[in-house]
């Protein structure tokens, strides 16, 4: 037996007594208690972000939400109370843990300048300021207040918003609210396709 693995094992006393003469146990551990990896993890109820069944999920994270812990996901499984999925998950829902903790996640704002062949770093402040300035410039240049027949239209045809399938209702509301306020009419969503 490899002594370093003993950390992971809960040996029974049976093996213990015969140990040590040869520097290793003569008797192996019989009842290896595979420990439940979520036994003391924190639970958060959530909804699967994939299809429109809207399965309830439980996200298990390390730590007990103490201040000094950065929670990270250890496991995701179905919420057994949820009337629709009753704890089940499909192959995508079952892999949500990897969706959350994934080394391909985007971690910082990037910009690609005209003619550029690579991404460049940009600070959040610069990105927000530049985007706002571009929206304003485009709006001021192309905003249509009246159409050919003189009717008020107050619309901005030159800026488009395409929204995703996993945006929350509240986010969508804010988008529609702010985009309509700007006069945006090219407002579309995954819902269309």
């Amino acid at each position: 037996m490899n002594p370093t693995r003993r950390d992971f094992l809960k040996l029974t006393t049976i093996g213990g007594a015969a140990a040590a003469v040869f520097g290793f146990d003569l008797k192996p551990a019989y009842a290896q208690l595979r420990t439940l990896k979520i036994a003391r993890a924190s639970e958060t109820r959530s909804t699967c972000p994939y299809c429109a069944v809207g399965c309830g999920t439980i996200i298990y994270t390390i730590g007990d939400r103490a201040k000094n812990v950065t929670a990270q996901v250890v496991h995701v499984e179905g919420d057994p109370d949820h009337p629709t999925n009753r704890g089940t998950l499909c192959p995508k829902g079952s892999s949500l843990q990897q969706e959350i903790m994934n080394d391909r996640r985007l971690l910082k704002p990037l910009v690609r300048r005209p003619g550029g062949t690579e991404w460049q770093d940009i600070s959040w402040d610069d990105a927000i300021s530049e985007i706002a300035a571009r929206v304003k410039k485009t709006r001021d240049e192309t905003f249509v207040e009246k159409d050919a027949s003189g009717h008020t239209v107050n619309r901005l045809e030159s800026v488009a918003w395409i929204g995703g399938c996993t945006d929350t209702n509240e986010f969508n509301y804010l988008v529609v609210k702010s985009m309509r306020a700007l006069g945006v009419v090219h407002l579309e969503n995954q819902a269309r396709v």
Binding site: S46, P91, E99
Partner: protein
């Protein structure tokens, strides 16, 4: 969905078509399986491929992609011929008995189009598509913004002529019968490729629930984007609705017409009007011709249109309350009666700005900048090349994502050299957003349930929440307008933004705003119940058109009341055992789980099936009551004969879709997909949907069999992968490591192709190379005497993913193949049933 996921366990019969729920909604599919196990319910699977759903179906029919109307029309014909219809339901709850104007003509009589077609403008004058009758309000059914200078729209008559015996040749029932009399089993076979005997088996099985007039059983029709993604998608669904009305299946537990929405919050995005032609809660956008708030309201608020002895609730008569409350939510005090509730602030829409048009407009230089948040527009297509070309012409693009995606890296897409890259002048910002577990908020599932989720863990790296990013950009724009002024700054400056953290609005506060609140003390005159100023309104019944309430989306009113966040409720109990679960989350409208549930009872208010009691008329209280929230006027006596379909001005279900309800006909007619291997056997001179628009840029091309494109191709999703997302996820990539093309064994043999060999699929727009999956699950078909092959391609791969990044085996997008045409009603592109050719690669 009219019903819900869990409700499917109540069904006796399922027609699953235009959808593959076992593949795409596995966890919802447990309920059809449950019905099989506990009720011996049957599943009929009709699909171009033998799918995972077919694997557990009792009957499978292989249909040619895009011929669903022919199949369903054939079933309608079969049901009428064999008297397997719900007579009472039909007469009382649908417009079957309504008389249609005598100058209305069916396609059988007018060369494959309905009366009123103008070939020059490719559009219909719909004035003949109306009921016979007298009087009435204004035209009420403008689903589409009429053009600014059009004459006043025709109107539905207030008093509709009718014939309860259903014998009048101009009654809807007789028109229906006549229309679908052409959809004989032989014709169905010619069009769909389903052998006559097989079709008759399916038609017999599905309509068997109404054998001998029995009303106890319920059948459901389940569909998804296999129906919507056609140039006549809405009409397929209409045919299904007609069949369900004919069989008396709508409004009933285990019945309904159930659209399985694709993604977690597609339903919510539609409800919240993340689309150009609506405002939240399905309020129709104002057009330039709506010169005032009142004229807008007049146009979009319907008035009842029904047989005189009947009653109609006509719930949309409340439209002004919802509209005023919405404007109050947007603009607060800046929206007042004096300025017509800031009506001017709303952009006016008189043309199509929908998905495909949007990319065309970008291609043509109208759209200069775009935000894409969680939306991979390049991959989604159709005609990805056109979308990439369009982005090359844009000034700027802002992408909010959690993974690198095709859209943000369109300038690095395969085939673009470094030199070409240097020519692309588009500035692209890619902002790292929060994943679903890192933010809270609600999703609305396909069953219309709003479900709140909690934040589980912090965002990694330097990510920010989506709402934070939008808020920060908007506030910055507002700051610029405040400082520098600019074009029409009023709506930007006056938009309410009263969140405790303006730069990152807490979503619970946003949901409260959506729910709506009283701006003055309110009192219900009947119950004397009061809502104080500043309190959340309990539901949309409290909304007012005098500016004393605000509400961000009337159909979500009731989701966050004084009792707290209703979408976060977690009571799993289901006292009726009908899968209603009234205490779990919150369902719009008004926490109602099955829509139109009044129709689950007979005319006297007694449930059709006493073992599945949803709602019923309580004689002693003289009120409607039930296990579900009643979808009806609560005190309308059965003898008043109010129609159960309260959102229609008729009060009844529409077999005949009058006036402007649909762009392409009041009854569904089979048209061929834009790229079709044959002429339409019903009317070869009118093969395609006559009102479908084709685009004209060099990227918009449409293939024909004459050009060598003879194979019918359909695209679809796999259960192992989620759209263009899980290709970043090793576990899912392990399940489906590579893209593939499903090809019938017969075709492979003809091509000398074995499974695993590479094959090149080309449409007139582009090509796609992947390995062949040779299978018995697709078979060659005989279509109108011609042998036709079908193939299928899953859409999931692209050029950004674990297996796809630069330097790896870069893959192209399936949507390079798909055509830029769309359904004239819902504007959904035709991803299914286009033409390709195949070669060994």
């Amino acid at each position: 969905m009219t019903n819900g996921w869990v409700d499917m366990k109540n069904t006796d019969m399922m027609l699953i078509m235009g959808g593959n729920p076992a593949e795409n909604h596995p966890c919802g599919f447990k309920w059809p399986v449950e019905a099989k196990r506990t009720r011996n319910a049957k599943i009929i699977s009709v699909d171009p491929r033998f799918t995972r759903t077919s694997a557990v179906a009792d009957l499978f029919c292989q249909i040619r992609a895009g011929t669903d109307i022919a199949f369903l029309g054939g079933v309608v014909h079969y049901a009428m011929e064999n008297n397997r219809i719900a007579k009472d339901y039909l007469v009382n709850y649908t417009n079957a008995a309504f008389l249609v104007k005598s100058d209305f003509k069916l396609p059988a009589d007018t060369d494959g189009v309905f009366s009123g077609f103008d070939a020059k403008t490719q559009s219909y004058d719909k004035s003949t598509w109306n009921y016979a009758g007298t009087g009435g309000g204004r035209g009420s059914d403008a689903a589409h913004p009429p053009s600014g200078s059009a004459p006043p729209a025709p109107r539905l008559p207030e008093k509709v002529e009718f014939d309860l015996s259903l014998q009048n040749p101009n009654c809807v029932f007789q028109l229906l019968k006549k229309h679908y009399s052409r959809y004989t089993p032989e014709m169905v076979e010619r069009i769909t490729g389903i052998p006559k005997e097989q079709f008759l088996k399916a038609a017999d099985l599905y309509t068997s629930i109404r054998k001998d007039g029995d009303m106890k059983k319920a059948g459901t029709i389940i569909y998804a984007v296999g129906w919507t993604q056609h140039s006549f998608g809405t009409q397929i669904i209409r045919t299904a609705a007609i069949l369900q009305l004919l069989l008396g299946n709508v409004g009933r537990a285990g019945g309904g017409v159930n659209a399985l929405r694709g993604h977690s919050n597609i339903q919510g995005a539609t409800d919240m009007a993340g689309i150009f032609d609506n405002l939240p809660g399905y309020l129709k956008v104002p057009t330039p011709a709506d010169t005032s708030f009142d004229s807008w309201m007049k146009r979009i608020t319907p008035t009842p249109s029904k047989p005189a002895p009947w009653d109609s609730f006509n719930y949309w008569s409340n439209t002004p309350k919802f509209a005023v409350s919405y404007l109050k939510a947007l603009y607060g005090d800046a929206a007042a009666k004096q300025n017509e509730w800031a009506f001017d602030y709303l952009p006016k829409v008189d043309r199509n700005y929908s998905w495909v048009q949007l990319w065309d407009n970008m291609y043509n230089g109208i759209v200069k900048g775009m935000f894409a948040f969680g939306m991979n527009g390049v991959a989604i297509g159709p005609d990805s090349k056109k979308n990439i070309d369009a982005l090359k012409k844009a000034d700027w693009l802002v992408v909010g994502e959690i993974y690198p995606d095709e859209t943000s890296e369109f300038w690095k897409s395969p085939g673009i050299s470094t030199d070409e890259m240097k020519q692309i002048q588009t500035t692209v910002y890619r902002l790292p957003c929060a994943g679903f577990a890192e933010k809270d908020g609600s999703f609305t599932n396909s069953a219309r349930w709003l479900l709140w989720k909690n934040t589980a863990l912090p965002m990694p790296g330097d990510c920010r929440t989506d709402q934070g990013i939008v808020a920060q950009i908007f506030l910055k724009i507002r700051e610029l307008y405040k400082k520098d002024g600019g074009k029409f700054p009023d709506p930007v400056l006056n938009l309410t933004w009263n969140y405790s953290v303006p730069s990152n609005p807490p979503l619970a506060e946003v949901l409260k705003e959506i729910n709506g609140k009283a701006l003055a003390d309110l009192e219900d005159p009947a119950t004397k119940q009061q809502v104080k100023a500043g309190q959340q309104v309990p539901g949309f019944a409290w909304l007012k058109d005098d500016g004393t309430t605000s509400c961000g989306n009337w159909i979500y009113s009731g989701s966050f009341t004084e009792a707290g966040n209703q979408t976060a409720r977690r009571d799993p109990s289901d006292p009726s055992n009908l899968g209603i679960h009234p205490g779990w989350g919150w369902s719009w409208p008004a926490n109602r789980r099955v829509m139109y549930n009044r129709a689950s009872c007979d005319v006297d208010g007694k449930p059709w099936d006493p073992t599945r009691k949803q709602v019923w008329w309580n004689e002693s209280t003289q009120k409607w009551t039930g296990n579900d929230v009643v979808d009806f006027k609560i005190d309308s006596k059965p003898k008043d004969h109010m129609g159960p379909f309260i959102m229609n001005p008729e009060g009844v279900g529409r077999i005949f879709g009058p006036l402007a309800a649909f762009a392409d006909g009041p009854l569904p007619e089979h048209y061929e997909p834009i790229e079709s291997p044959i002429d339409n056997p019903l009317h070869p001179e009118q093969t395609h949907n006559p009102v479908v628009k084709r685009f004209k840029t060099p990227d918009d091309k449409y293939g024909t069999p004459k050009d060598g494109y003879t194979v019918v191709c359909t695209t679809y999703r796999l259960t192992e992968l989620y759209h263009y997302w899980t290709k970043n996820n090793p576990m899912n990539v392990q399940l489906i490591p590579e893209p593939f093309v499903e090809i019938s064994a017969e075709m492979a043999q003809e091509m000398g192709l074995t499974g695993g060999e590479k094959v090149k699929v080309s449409s007139i727009r582009g090509e796609y190379i992947a390995k062949a999956m040779v299978t018995k699950r697709i078979k060659a078909m005989m279509i109108d005497g011609k042998k036709i092959y079908q193939i299928g391609i899953p859409i999931h791969q692209g050029y950004r993913g674990i297996a796809e990044d630069e330097g790896k085996d870069a893959r192209t997008l399936v949507n390079l193949l798909t055509p830029t045409v769309f359904d004239p009603n819902a504007y959904t592109p035709e991803f299914k049933g286009f033409l390709v050719k195949l070669e060994k690669a």
